[in-house]
Symmetry: C2
Subunit: 290 residues, 2 copies
C-alpha cells in the first residue's frame, strides 16, 4: 500500500491504475482515527471497485469549534496499518497546505434546507461549506468512479449527493449502513473521548432510536408521538438532546408522519463530546429510496 | 461537427475522442453571439488541442439585470455555422434545465478582492458566483485539458484561474488577447446593441486606454496621473465611466504605480449598453506574467 501526500502523486497513481486495466476506482474519504465504520466503507469499496483510495485528512474547514478540531484524534501510523490490512491500495494523506495553499479562496456552498437544519444549527452553517468544499476537491483529485460515506452522517450524505449532482462530478455516492458497537452506540472517532460513565449514558441515544422504531412497528406514525418516545428515553438517562428531529429523508424538511421515508436524527452532548445518530423510518410497505 | 445538448452526450463524445488517440481536449466556453474574439479562442484551441469543444450557453446565473439577460443576442444557427467553419469538433449547447435542473442548490464562490472589485460593483457580487459555478460545471463536464478565455474579461480570467486552482480541476486556463474592430472597439456580443452614435462615442474607451499606454511609454508611472489621462478622453467624448481602475494584475488590489504589472480597466455605459475593456500595463523591462 502506498501513502501519498500530494494531489499530483495521487493523480499519477490513479492514471496508472486506469492504464493497468479498466478497474473502477473507489474513494473512501475519512478524517482518520479509523474504526469499524470506516473499515466497512473500505469493504464496500473493495466489493465494487478494483482500486481503492482512502483519504485521511482532518479538514479544518468543517470544524466550527477550535477545541473539537484540536482534540480530534490523530493516529496516522495506526490508521495506515488498518487501511493496509483492509485492502486499501493507496492512502492519500495531504497536509492542510496541500489542499488549502496560501491564497485559497473558493467555497462550494449548498443552499437550502439540506444545509440549514440539523447539524447546521449545532455546528454552524460553515460546517457543510467545509464538507462540500473538501469533498469536491477530493473527488476531483481522485477522479473516482464511486465514493463511500457512512449513513451515520446522513445529512452529509445528502449534501454531498446534492453537490455532486449539481456540479456534475462523475462519481457515484454510496451510503453504507451505520456500524455499531455491541452496546448499540454508533461507531465514531469521537467515542474515544467518552469516559466510562459518559459511555453508559451515551447508549441512551441508540436506545431512543430503537424506541422510535418499536413504536412505529406497533403502528404509531405521528412524529409528535414518536418524538416523545425518544425524548423519554434520553431524559431518563439524563441527556438533554440538542435535537431529536423527524425530517423527510430526501429533503430534510420537517415531517409530521411517516408517510414518506423519514430520518429520525438525534444530536446530544455527552460529557464533552457531541454525538449524532439516526435511523431511517419507513412504513412496512414503503420501499427505501435512500 | 456535432451539436449535443446533454452532459452525458458530451462525456460520451469526449471519451470517444480520448479513445481515438491521445489528442488534448480543448474547451471554448461562450454565451454564443459569436464574433472574431470567440473565433480567436477557437484558433488558439485548435493550435494547442486535437479536439475542440465549444459550449454555447447564456448562463442566467451570471446576469444580474433581467433586461441584459433578456436582450442578450441569441443566434444559434449562425453560431454553429461559424463554429463549424472555425474547426470546432462539437458544440455543447444545453438548455438551462440541463445545467440547472429543479432542486439545483450549489454555488461555487470565490472570496476576496478578485470578486469584490471592478465588475462586482457594477454587476453585483452574484455575477462571479454565476461565472465560477457554470465554468466549474463546464470544465468538469468536458474534462478538457485546456480552456480558452478572452483577456477582455480579465477579471473573469482571474476568478476562473483561482477557482480552478482551488478545486484542483485539471484544466489549463489560457487567456487570449482581446480582439478589436478596426476602430479599436473591443469585440463584444453586446456591440450589436449600440446605435451608430453610440458606437462613435464608444471608441473613446479604447482611445482612453491608448492614452494611458502612451503616457506610460513617455515615463508617467503614477496611476493618479494615468487615471486623469483616461478620464479626460472619456469625458471629452461625453462618457461618464462607471470605473477607470488601476489594479494589480494578479490580485486586483489598487495600484498606485506601475512597478508590478497593472491592469487598467474601464467600464462605461454607452446608450443602453454596458461596455468593458482593459489593457495590461507593464514597465518596459517587466516580464508579463499574465
Amino acid at each position: 500500500m502506498k501513502i501519498v501526500r500530494t494531489v499530483s502523486e495521487l493523480r499519477g497513481i490513479v492514471r496508472q491504475a486506469r492504464t493497468n486495466g479498466s478497474a473502477l476506482i473507489g474513494l473512501v474519504p475519512t478524517m482518520g482515527a479509523l474504526h469499524d465504520g470506516h473499515l466497512s466503507l473500505v469493504h464496500a469499496a473493495r466489493r465494487d471497485c478494483g482500486f481503492v483510495i482512502m483519504s485521511i485528512f482532518v479538514n479544518p474547514k468543517q470544524f466550527t469549534e477550535a477545541a473539537d478540531l484540536e482534540g480530534y484524534p490523530r493516529q496516522e501510523a495506526a490508521d495506515t496499518a488498518l487501511a493496509d490490512a483492509a485492502g486499501v491500495d493507496v492512502v492519500f494523506a495531504p497536509d492542510a497546505s496541500e489542499l488549502y495553499p496560501d491564497g485559497f479562496a473558493t467555497t462550494v456552498h449548498v443552499t437550502g434546507p439540506l444545509t440549514q437544519t440539523l447539524e447546521a444549527a449545532g455546528r454552524g452553517p460553515e460546517h457543510f461549506d467545509g464538507v462540500a468544499t473538501v469533498v469536491s476537491k477530493l473527488l476531483i483529485a481522485a477522479g473516482a468512479d464511486a465514493a463511500f460515506f457512512g449513513q451515520k452522517d446522513a445529512q452529509q450524505v445528502l449534501v454531498v449527493r446534492r453537490m455532486v449532482a449539481d456540479l456534475g462530478i462523475p462519481t457515484d455516492i454510496v451510503a453504507c449502513p451505520t456500524v455499531r458497537d455491541s452496546d448499540g452506540l454508533a461507531k465514531s472517532s469521537r467515542n474515544v473521548r467518552l469516559s466510562g460513565a459518559d459511555r453508559a449514558q451515551a447508549v441512551a441515544i441508540p436506545r431512543a432510536l430503537e424506541a422510535v422504531e418499536a413504536a412505529l412497528a406497533l403502528g404509531e406514525t405521528g412524529t409528535d408521538a414518536l418524538h416523545s418516545r425518544a425524548t423519554t428515553v434520553l431524559t431518563a438517562a439524563g441527556i438533554t438532546p440538542e435535537y431529536v428531529a423527524f425530517v423527510d429523508a430526501r429533503t430534510l424538511l420537517p415531517a409530521t408522519d411517516i408517510a414518506e421515508p423519514v430520518l429520525c436524527a438525534i444530536a446530544a452532548r455527552v460529557g464533552s463530546v457531541r454525538l449524532i445518530d439516526n435511523t431511517l423510518l419507513t412504513l412496512p410497505d414503503t420501499i427505501e429510496e435512500n
